[in-house]
């Protein structure tokens, strides 16, 4: 037998090795995450700087993630002086000159969030720990945004949120190192209510179907409160499981409930299915309380509109940005709105590179990258705390949403919100929504300590440069 006998000697040897292995790291506990000599995590060395694009490449929001990634690649190209410069030319702050960020060439790494907070954090941590990313951006759901934002706060890098609409991201879960350009549930409600009152009257009874998770709750609350403020009554609110694909059972009772408006607080596949079911049930032709029955979808995306097809026609909702801003439009009351040069520049360069217009997810991601780059340039440093200072209460224009404020109290952008409607006669598969009105920023602004946003308790904490 060739078996060796591991006894005292073996034990001693192993414990020596294990002990040495354990002792090595404990001697040097000072350095955390990365080199401490630079004063902050992942300080760029050499002539390049690395950004981390963490988007869903698989899972339910993979399409949105793909569009986000396109926008990021375009933004990097523009920052490095390639292409036609896109919105860099229209941006009110003129520090970006095509030489990268602070003269350093921009490089990037990508990861897959899988729309799961664990996977998203794993991917973000690998970008920070392995690839030396100085900023993480992306994501297409609030769960992921909140999780990654908290991670970036701990690690001491900047997080520029992608598509995240729940109040919590800049509400109760706000963080000093995290920033959101996208609008939120509260803004959707505040923007929609007056237009709904205008279109459908103030004597309405609403029935809510709400996806049973955080985003659904905050959206339902926002729409309910703002429509009740204009005189509507809420008949009933029903929670639907996120994994539900057939909403017939939830829609059947709606007609007999005395309601004359159905609000679908659903996103993505949920919305596509629930809206399709509602239309199949004939809700759009129905009459209730002597009025035409109406359906509302608080948050629209182009991908959802495409999924729901014909069914979106005439249905109101809100959106952060829409590419038709680039062409100008006419509101229902006859006002001509001129084309927005910034949107036009973005749609042009995106369209030339990829062959179709960008989605709102692509827009917010592109804008966030530019805003970060500009903030670093203005601060003159990659130090997260300097960047936070540069972004806080920063007012800018020329990025597609008109004059915008990055509020310092909660790191949320305040800008105009678009109220859109499913187009009756779409000319292409991308031309599914028409802008009804641009709700001015003032109308959707709220106090930083609003009870829906964590109240007085919510705090950003202090910025963390890591290291």
């Amino acid at each position: 037998m060739s078996k060796s006998n591991f006894t005292r000697r073996g034990l001693l040897k192993t414990s020596a090795i294990a002990g040495a292995g354990l002792a090595v790291p404990t001697i040097f506990t000072g350095a955390s995450w990365a080199g401490s000599h630079t004063g902050f995590t992942n300080a760029p060395e050499g002539s390049t700087v690395t950004l981390g694009f963490n988007v869903p490449q698989s899972g339910p929001y993979a399409d949105e993630g793909a569009d986000e990634l396109r926008a990021y690649e375009l933004a990097v190209e523009h920052l490095n002086g390639g292409g036609d410069g896109g919105m860099i030319n229209t941006f009110s702050s003129q520090t970006l000159d095509g030489t990268g960020i602070l003269g350093k060439q921009v490089e990037y790494v990508t990861g897959d969030t899988q729309t799961k907070s664990d996977a998203a954090r794993a991917s973000a941590r690998s970008m920070i720990e392995k690839d030396g990313a100085i900023m993480i951006t992306g994501g297409s759901s609030s769960g992921v945004a909140v999780a990654v934002q908290a991670l970036c706060q701990e690690a001491g890098v900047i997080f520029m949120a992608g598509l995240t609409h729940s109040n919590d991201t800049t509400g109760k879960d706000r963080k000093a190192n995290g920033f959101r350009h996208f609008f939120n549930s509260y803004m959707s409600g505040a923007a929609l209510a007056p237009i709904l009152a205008n279109a459908y009257g103030t004597d309405r009874k609403a029935y809510h179907l709400t996806a049973d998770y955080n985003w659904g709750y905050t959206t339902e609350q926002a729409v309910r409160e703002s429509t009740e403020a204009v005189g509507w009554e809420t008949v009933n609110t029903v929670l639907t499981p996120l994994t539900e694909t057939d909403f017939s059972a939830y829609i059947a009772p709606v007609l007999n409930s005395g309601a004359d408006v159905l609000v679908l607080n659903h996103y993505g596949g949920n919305m596509v299915n629930s809206l399709t079911n509602a239309v199949q049930f004939g809700l759009r032709e129905a009459q209730a309380n002597g009025q035409d029955f109406q359906i509302i979808v608080p948050l629209y995306s182009r991908l959802m509109a495409r999924g729901a097809g014909e069914n979106v026609k005439g249905i109101f909702g809100s959106t952060n940005w829409h590419w038709s801003l680039a062409q100008g439009f006419t509101t229902p009351d006859g006002t001509e709105v001129a084309p927005d040069p910034a949107s036009a520049a973005f749609v042009k360069s995106f369209g030339e590179k990829y062959g179709f217009p960008p989605s709102q997810a692509a827009h917010t991601c592109y804008v966030q990258t530019l805003l970060y780059a500009d903030a670093v340039n203005r601060a003159g440093s990659f130090n997260p705390c300097a960047v936070v200072e540069a972004l806080e209460d920063f007012e800018f224009d020329g990025l597609g949403n008109g004059p915008t404020l990055y509020r310092g109290a909660d790191h949320q952008c305040f800008k105009d919100v678009l109220v859109v409607r499913g187009k009756e006669n779409p000319t292409s598969e991308f031309d599914l929504l028409e802008i009804v009105e641009v709700t001015p920023a003032a109308q959707v602004t709220y106090a930083p300590d609003h009870p829906n946003f964590g109240g007085a308790e919510a705090s950003l904490g202090s910025c963390n440069p890591g290291a």
Binding site: T110, D112, E129, G143, G461
Partner: protein
């Protein structure tokens, strides 16, 4: 706990066990295995970073704290799952629920009681164990596919509850984290300071970086703590595999009826195995929270339960080291392959003529980035078809090829459970 079952082993008379019970009560080949695993885990920061920072192959380096922690944590999860699946043959399709329950218990301990990771991990194990008693008691009334479906149903129920109904406790979709407002009883945090997981003051995220030429090695406190826990779990698993209790579990797998006819009820054994493997999952969940203080409900989703099944099958069902290898393989693909994008490919193949470069990128494109699932699927199919014994069988075949035939056969006999 499992101690009473393992304690019996060394006192067994030498006559019934010709093999020597030397090092820590393990016989030769097991002791070698444990020591090899110990050396590998301790040297992981070196072994997983074989390529210099600046080389284009640095993409394949896995020696950064997050991934190393995941390797050992999912290793623990898979080892525990293997105690149930590998020994008794009961295929649980809901083990992620225990991982999730353990995580939630751990994070609440950290939020409310103390930021020290030990109570959090222990509570995670206990709560997961209790939940396993409940689920096991119900599910183990059936076997085969019915058992799998019952456990799957429990896990999906837990996921749905955590995602929506229990939002006040679980934080719903956005999950739970340690917040600046959290003030655990046994902590002395300053105002506004966010609590960090620690072990008697050692921050889990502290690392020491060793710069050697082009190589950068990261030694992370969290990783070493998780690695030590993994070694302990691995040791306990070996003892369970080699104990009379382990033999009973194999008996359950090979022929339950015969076991009943000999007057033994398989129920207590299967339930014990189920609870032990649930506690392993809870331990992994608690460690996950200790390393990265965040929990989301996706941790309990059925795909997470499926993943651990894949890990064990990929590595080798019923073998000791297989589950750890499988876990490492899947986590490696998930974290490394998914981060390779077309841009990286173009850099690799930049030296080739344009046409060939573009062609190669097009060919490889479906297998990288978001395509890592496809690659994993192909590898999994290949393993199941050509290597039914998993990666361990691959190792044995290679071993035999190079003339270690005798030894390989010996360990194969020791590792393969009785069928």
């Amino acid at each position: 706990m499992v101690d009473q079952t393992t304690d019996t082993l060394p006192q067994r008379p030498a006559a019934s066990r010709p093999a020597k019970t030397g090092f820590l009560g393990l016989k030769g080949s097991d002791a070698t295995l444990l020591i090899v695993v110990a050396i590998l885990t301790m040297c992981a920061p070196f072994l997983l970073n074989p390529f210099p920072e600046t080389s284009s192959l640095a993409q394949f380096n896995a020696g950064y704290p997050d991934l190393m922690q995941r390797f050992v944590i999912f290793g623990i999860f898979a080892i525990g799952f293997n105690i149930l699946f590998g020994l008794t043959g009961y295929l649980s399709f809901g083990h992620a629920a225990f991982l999730g329950v353990g995580s939630y218990a751990a994070i609440w301990t950290m939020k409310l009681v103390t930021l020290n990771i030990i109570p959090a991990i222990i509570l995670g194990m206990i709560v997961a164990g209790l939940f396993a008693v409940l689920v096991g008691y119900v599910s183990l009334r059936r076997s085969g596919i019915y058992f799998s479906i019952l456990t799957l149903a429990f896990a999906q129920m837990s996921y749905a509850l955590a995602y929506s109904v229990l939002t006040p406790i679980t934080g719903g979709e956005t999950g739970l984290q340690i917040k600046p407002t959290d003030r655990p009883i046994l902590s002395n945090l300053q105002d506004g300071e966010i609590g960090r997981a620690n072990l008697f003051g050692l921050d889990m995220r502290s690392s020491f970086e060793l710069d050697m030429g082009g190589w950068l090695f990261t030694f992370n406190i969290g990783y070493y703590i998780a690695a030590v826990v993994m070694l302990i779990s691995f040791y306990v698993a070996i003892r369970i595999f080699r104990s009379p209790f382990g033999m009973m579990l194999r008996a359950v797998k090979s022929n339950q009826q015969r076991m009943s006819y000999t007057g033994l009820s398989p129920k207590p054994y299967t339930l014990a195995a189920f609870v032990i493997s649930g506690m392993y999952a809870g331990l992994a969940g608690g460690l996950m929270v200790a390393m990265d203080t965040q929990v989301g409900p996706e941790r309990m989703f059925w795909t997470a339960s499926g993943e651990v099944v894949l890990m064990v099958i990929l590595g080798g069902v019923g073998t000791l080291i297989g589950p750890v290898l499988g876990a490492g393989m899947i986590k490696y693909m998930e974290n490394i392959l998914s981060k390779i994008n077309d841009n990286v490919l173009h850099q690799w193949f930049a030296f080739m003529p344009d046409g060939i470069e573009d062609f190669l990128v097009t060919v490889i494109h479906p297998f990288i980035g978001k395509g890592w699932h496809l690659t994993l699927g192909i590898v999994f199919m290949a393993v199941v078809i050509f290597l039914p014994g998993g990666l361990v069988e691959l190792g044995q075949r290679i071993g035999r090829l190079f003339g270690f035939g005798k030894k390989a056969d010996d360990s194969a006999a020791a590792k393969t459970p009785a069928e």
